[in-house]
């Protein structure tokens, strides 16, 4: 088959002339199209990151911009790693992360499994379940403090109704023992649909022929679940955990509105603690070192996890 006329003409035309005729070269377009994105990300992400690393080696305080800035080397990092308060916030964060992930995976997978039974109207109910996750965490978190009010709050009323306890006898966000669970409950309420949607995609990706084959081999439903359903959904589930893990490690808006880190520091997640150091105590240098540690942690954990995820996918 001969080449189209236009193409033959194009290859025969000298490059300089072709450039003028056809406008910009692909290479130039590629650069022009990518450059603004990279430039903006460099300005708003990478430049600040480098600045943060620089600040982390100083004793700079942003509420005193004219005070002399002293170079302190790695002192900030040392201080942070020996600060019991910071280890406390790491524990609080770990409690929050582990329980929200466990509950959201169980509930999310369970719901997806049930929705995948394709009962009538499952589309409508799925959309309703998804709603909380799309809303502003700060605004919703703020309203949850109203639901959590002792006596008048709806949450307390419902719990009291089913357990017979006095609705004014417990305060979800005022009690040291209950507050860590109060934030887990709201986060689970909000983000279970996220895990659910991803699991649902996983379940729907399993070809029915596999189950038919298993049925022919007389594999029990129980065995089919453990040898087909779960392994096939696992990569999806792991992806959901990755997203939720990163998001909840960074968690700020929902919890700061719900409890503000209190009572005491029982719900003071790392981001809330960091905000306190940077924007209330104005220890900018110290907070910068803290921010670098957080970034390295989340980046490191995520990289290891992605490797594991790829292994599961390849299997």
């Amino acid at each position: 088959m001969s080449e189209p006329l236009s193409q033959r003409a194009a290859t025969a035309t000298p490059p300089v002339l072709a450039h003028r005729i056809r406008g910009l070269s692909d290479r130039a377009i590629a650069w022009i199209f990518v450059a603004p994105t990279i430039a903006l990300l460099l300005a708003v992400n990478i430049f600040p990151l480098i600045w943060t690393i620089r600040l982390s080696l100083t004793n700079y305080r942003s509420n005193r911009p004219n005070a002399p800035v002293k170079w302190v080397g790695l002192e900030n990092y040392q201080k942070i790693l020996h600060d019991p308060d910071i280890w406390n916030t790491f524990q609080v964060t770990a409690h929050f992360l582990i329980w929200t992930l466990v509950l959201q995976v169980l509930l999310g997978f369970g719901l997806a499994y049930l929705i995948n039974k394709k009962f009538r109207g499952n589309d409508l109910w799925t959309t309703i379940i998804v709603l909380p996750m799309m809303l502003s965490p700060a605004v919703v978190g703020n309203f949850w403090t109203f639901l959590y009010q002792p006596q008048i709050g709806l949450f307390n009323y419902v719990i009291a109704f089913f357990t017979g306890a006095d609705p004014s006898s417990f305060s979800m966000i005022g009690d040291v023992g209950l507050a860590p669970w109060a934030i887990v409950i709201v986060d689970t309420w909000m983000w279970t649909p996220f895990v659910m949607l991803i699991c649902l995609a996983g379940l729907r990706s399993i070809p029915p022929s596999i189950y038919e084959a298993a049925e022919c081999d007389r594999a029990s439903k129980w065995r089919q679940f453990w040898t087909i359903t779960l392994p096939m959904v696992l990569p999806f589930l792991m992806l959901a955990v990755l997203f939720r893990g990163i998001e909840n490690f960074k968690m700020f808006d929902l919890v700061v509105q719900l409890t503000g880190g209190g009572p005491g520091s029982t719900t003071e997640l790392t981001s809330i603690n960091l905000k306190r150091e940077a924007f209330e105590k104005w220890r900018t240098g110290y907070a910068s070192a803290y921010a670098v540690i957080l970034f390295v942690t989340v980046f490191g954990l995520a990289s290891i996890y992605v490797k594991a995820l790829n292994k599961v996918k390849d299997r």
Partner: protein, 313 residues
């Protein structure tokens, strides 16, 4: 044994699954319905025990949301004569008069300006970058794509420290432009990844045909690729808009007045003598409803959006 496929759930299974899911859905929607209902309660109904499910609807919450009021002496009030409007009448019950508009309208407008401004920019930049990543050999493509995504792993508070200092130097603190640029940068990771997925799905043959027909590369992009990617661009735009609309951490740290958006403002609404929950709920309702509508419109693309295009279904 019936003749139908063994993989189709039985009627009983469907019935049980449906019941459990519907119960979960009803429980999960309760807080949202409660927000909407509280907005139409009077302050005393809102804090009554037991919580009132059936009540006389009132627009007090909405009146309080949009106005500032002050208490006046009874004789002054009498001298004012009969209230002329329905909202005056509501306020007068409490021996108060309306003294002016509240700041809610301005904060809501800020959310609209910053939300739409940053959405437009991030979708525009995202579309052209995604096209380049999708169609051309960009050096270090995978590294750049990962770099774009990694910017999402930073906790916003950590990013906010240098941004706060940088904006203070540049005079961008508490400005619309500053917030638009910041949200654009944050949303770029989402828009580039999502749009690359959408553009990857458009067959290259369409453009090749256009190029052979004498279109320049740029014309082919505008006249062939863009119309094909329209649905993808629209749903990406809605995701960017929802993010910017909901964002709180940057907004609370970098804005205080002129450019403050609604999320940091709504929790600060207070009444006289205790928190005015109906006004807060009214403000939340107006703020959350658009997102609920968008969620319903977007439901087919939802999964793709929330996973940055990693799961397509």
């Amino acid at each position: 044994m019936s003749a139908v496929s063994v993989t189709v759930p039985s009627r009983r299974q469907k019935w049980i699954a449906g019941t459990v899911v519907i119960i979960y859905a009803l429980v999960t929607i309760m807080p949202l319905l409660w927000i909407i209902a509280t907005g139409f309660k009077t302050p005393s109904d809102a804090i009554s025990y037991p919580p009132k499910v059936i009540f006389q609807p009132s627009l007090e919450g909405y009146v309080n949301l949009f106005t500032t009021r002050s208490r006046v002496a009874p004789d002054t009030l009498a001298a004012l004569g009969e209230p002329t409007t329905w909202y005056d009448r509501i306020v007068r019950q409490y021996d108060m008069v309306i003294t002016g508009p509240s700041r809610y309208g301005a904060r809501f407008l800020n959310s609209v300006i910053i939300g739409f401004g940053s959405t437009f920019l991030s979708v525009f930049l995202g579309t052209i970058a995604a096209y380049a990543f999708s169609r051309f050999k960009v050096p270090l493509k995978d590294d750049l794509m990962f770099f774009v995504l990694s910017t999402r792993m930073m906790p916003p508070i950590a990013v906010a420290i240098p941004i706060f200092l940088m904006y203070r130097q540049l005079g961008l603190s508490d400005t619309h432009l500053g917030m638009i640029l910041l949200y654009t940068a944050v949303n770029l990771s989402l828009s580039v990844w999502l749009l690359k997925g959408f553009i990857d799905e458009i067959p290259v043959e369409y453009e090749e045909a256009a190029l052979i027909d004498g279109y320049t590369r740029f014309q082919a992009f505008v006249k062939v690729v863009l119309p094909q990617a329209a649905t993808g661009i629209a749903s990406t735009a809605i995701f960017c808009l929802i993010f910017a609309w909901n964002e709180y951490a940057f907004a609370v740290l970098l804005t205080s007045g002129i450019a403050q958006t609604a999320p940091p403002f709504i929790p600060t609404i207070i009444g006289t003598g205790g928190k005015d929950w109906p006004a807060v709920a009214a403000g939340a309702t107006l703020f959350l409803l658009p997102v609920m509508v968008f969620t319903i419109l977007l439901r087919r693309h939802l999964l793709r959006g929330i996973t940055f295009g990693a799961v397509r279904k």
